[in-house]
């Protein structure tokens, strides 16, 4: 039973590694923005209606993601994520309400 368990474990690990790669390739309705060094990367993103964008804070300092009247994240500590699905076309300017010199743009077509 021990060897079986080990093999199952191996399969699970392989699946866990492959799965995100596969979904990312198969599904362009999920996009990512990283916060690194007080910068939204990429600063401008062009997406289609229905796309979900996930922001991940990779700094040692908390940040927020705020688009006035559209969306507002909670405070994101290190490695925290914020997700928003864009259901309407338009230009969404956003910024970090703690460090307002940090700005970004999502263009939804």
């Amino acid at each position: 039973m021990k060897t079986l368990n080990r093999r199952d474990f191996g399969v699970a690990v392989a699946a866990a590694i492959l799965l995100p790669v596969t979904t990312a390739r198969a599904d362009d309705t999920n996009m990512e923005v990283h916060i690194d060094n007080f910068v939204f990367q990429p600063p401008e993103l062009k997406i289609k209606v229905g796309t979900t964008v996930t922001w991940t804070n990779r700094d040692d300092i908390p940040h927020t993601v705020v688009s006035a009247g559209k969306f507002r994240s909670k405070t994101l500590d290190t490695d925290d994520k914020f997700t928003f699905t864009f259901t309407n076309a338009g230009d969404y300017k956003y910024f970090c309400s703690l460090h307002p010199h940090m700005t970004g743009m999502i263009k939804v077509e």
């Binding site: 060094n37 007080f38 700094d59 040692d60 908390p62 006035a68 909670k74 405070t75 910024f95 309400s97």
Partner: protein, 314 residues
């Protein structure tokens, strides 16, 4: 850096950068003849306070209680070290000001821990909030603790030792692409607060983000800070004390002296010297050398500015 000459009419950016220097964990201020002088902490200040008559107060800033990242895994510990230094002073300061970012994430436990350590100084503490103190969902922990008797988001004034102190809040309602913000309501209050004060009254303005433009590329400035400075223009002695940038920077413009205090938690890079203004990781042995001792001495009506920097270690 010592006895640095800033010239007559303000300071170029290069000069400001030259004068930026690492220093101690807090800055000791003394009022002699109505003119505030920064004595630096703490060892060099002891000798000075022993002989200097008048009122002495202390500034600490950016304690970031709760911060546990590599730049300083124990920010509470270094705050306690700073408080121990204050307690070891032979002459007790009249009170302390804290220029914000008491906590890192505005958790109740972080406020509690900060208070537990800072209260060991047994000094009255006058706080202004940093952006890290307004992060709780209901934005109430700071106000519950320190907002009593204040206006708006927490601004207020008080008099001590013949000096008029004004605590300002420039970390709320920040606009995308902008800097720190005081807002029309607070500016109107400030103008009213200063009305009728004798122009010979020394004024100390303190707020978290620098009221002067230090480095807008990193958000180090206040959008409408110039408006506040207009209101104090006629006063003979004005001192502006800020935190936020985790390093000592000072300049003198006419009768106005600007000064930023260091953090008790972690250093941040000099403007433009790193990819971002985030916490700067230095060797463990070097951290406390950046939390060393600084004396900043200045005199009203003199253009010369002297920063004497003595690290605690090394």
């Amino acid at each position: 850096m010592s006895g640095h000459d800033h010239g007559e009419d303000g300071v170029s950016r290069r000069k400001v950068l030259e004068c930026m220097t690492w220093a101690g964990t807090g800055v000791l201020w003394t009022i002699t003849g109505g003119v505030p002088r920064s004595l630096g902490i703490i060892d060099s200040a002891e000798a000075a306070t022993a002989t200097a008559p008048g009122m002495t107060f202390l500034q600490i800033s950016d304690s970031h209680v709760g911060f546990d990242k590599p730049a300083n895994p124990n920010a509470l510990g270094t705050l306690e070290e700073a408080v121990n230094k204050i307690n070891a002073m032979p002459v007790k300061p009249s009170f302390m000001i804290h220029t914000g970012d008491i906590t890192h994430l505005s958790k109740a436990s972080e406020f509690d821990n900060a208070d537990r350590i800072i209260s060991q100084s047994k000094l009255d503490v006058h706080y202004v909030p940093g952006e890290h103190d307004f992060l709780d969902e209901e934005v109430k922990f700071y106000r519950d603790r320190y907002g009593r008797g204040t206006k708006g988001a927490g601004w207020y004034s008080f008099d001590a030792g013949g000096v008029h102190f004004v605590g300002l809040v420039n970390v709320v309602d920040l606009k995308g692409g902008g800097l720190g913000n005081l807002g029309a309501e607070q500016l109107a209050w400030l103008e009213d607060d200063l009305r009728g004060k004798s122009k010979s009254t020394p004024v100390v303005l303190f707020a978290h983000i620098p009221l002067w433009t230090v480095y807008p590329e990193w958000g180090w400035g206040t959008e409408d800070g110039g408006r506040a400075l207009e209101y104090v223009k006629g006063f003979g002695s004005v001192t502006v004390l800020n935190g936020h940038i985790h390093q000592v920077m000072q300049k003198v413009e006419g009768n106005v002296t600007f000064h930023t205090a260091r953090s008790t938690a972690f250093p941040q890079p000099a403007p433009g010297t790193a990819a971002s203004p985030g916490p700067m990781k230095v060797e463990d042995a070097k951290l406390r050398s950046m939390l060393g001792v600084a004396s900043i001495n200045f005199k009203q009506n003199e253009q010369r500015l002297a920063i004497i920097d003595t690290p605690l270690q090394g």
